[in-house]
């Protein structure tokens, strides 16, 4: 139906996911993961699942980012592996 837009969001989400795996600074990873959540939310919306996209936008791109940042404060900021 709207192939190019869906493919674009899918590609952006893929890039964000790979970047989150490669970056060593965990605080940056938390921010990249919220970006991933936002792109996935856009993807759901483009595919017509608006309720699911809404949920992902609020939880994946909002609340989990804050929870990750607070959890990182309990450990070290840099990833070892």
């Amino acid at each position: 139906m709207n192939g190019p837009i869906t493919a674009l969001f899918f590609l952006l989400a893929l890039i964000a996911a790979i970047a989150a795996l490669k970056v060593k600074d965990l605080l940056a990873v938390a921010v990249i993961l919220t970006a991933f959540g936002f792109f996935v939310a856009l993807l759901y919306t483009a595919l017509g699942a608006i309720d699911v996209g809404f949920n992902e936008a609020v939880l994946g791109a909002g609340v989990t980012g804050v929870l990750f940042v607070v959890a990182i404060h309990h450990t070290q900021r840099r990833s070892i592996d």
Partner: protein
């Protein structure tokens, strides 16, 4: 676990056009959702009415996750409790969050109560409301944000949400229907309006549980025994 392994192959294959969900069940939902409950948003009807028992299970799962965080992370002795969060020094962050918080909260309430007509509902609205409280916790510091939503309120909120949803089922049972059969509510309205109302009560229960659980997890994480750590 063994039971799951035995029962697993009996499920229809992924994308199977012959399965019940792809056949008559979905068509029944699409055709009857508005007639049954006077609610244009079919997603809301399916989540809160046709599959209300599923959603009750989801709410309980969310609540149990919050309880697990509580038992693992919360410090019981208030003297030892330090806070990770203090008020921000930036005037821009301070002002922006002060303006944004009430707007987000009003929008969250709109999402909860307008879930019948537009995308949204208890989960989304509750998560938005919790997000606004977390925004205030992060920007204004833990102490200053207590008067909007005290950390002693979050677990009672979660419990109240689960009880509202489960209690609604008990009310329909007492009125002579099945569990969560909203058209048996003893209010003397038309059947579709009763189901409409039942969905609203269920959504409010879900929202309470989500707000309480998310804020509870955040508070358990941010209140450590160590006080403000190094940057």
């Amino acid at each position: 676990m063994g039971l799951l392994l035995v029962a697993g192959p009996g499920l229809p294959a992924f994308g199977d056009p012959e399965s019940a969900a792809a056949g008559h069940v979905s068509a029944h939902f699409v055709e009857n959702a508005y007639l049954d409950s006077h609610t244009p948003n079919i997603v809301t009807v399916i989540i809160a009415d046709y599959r209300g028992f599923d959603t009750l299970g989801e709410v309980v799962v969310v609540f149990v996750a919050g309880l697990a965080c509580l038992f693992l992370l919360r410090r019981s002795n208030p003297q030892q409790t330090g806070h990770l969060l203090r008020r921000t020094d930036s005037i821009i962050v301070d002002l922006a969050t002060r303006v944004m918080t009430p707007i987000i909260q009003v929008f969250a309430l709109y999402v909860i109560f307008h879930g019948h007509y537009s995308p949204g509902g208890g989960f989304q609205g509750g998560a938005l409301f919790a997000g606004s409280i977390l925004l205030q916790r992060v920007s204004q510091g833990h102490e200053n944000s207590q008067h909007t939503f005290s950390r002693h309120l979050d677990t009672p909120f979660a419990i109240a949400g689960v009880l509202i949803f489960a209690g609604l089922g008990v009310v329909t049972l007492l009125a002579g229907g099945n569990y969560l059969q909203y058209d048996q509510l003893p209010l003397g309205l038309r059947m579709d309006m009763l189901r409409n109302l039942g969905i609203l009560v269920a959504e409010v229960g879900v929202a309470f549980a989500v707000v309480g659980t998310l804020v509870s997890i955040f508070d358990d994480l941010s209140c450590t025994g160590r006080g403000i750590p190094r940057d």
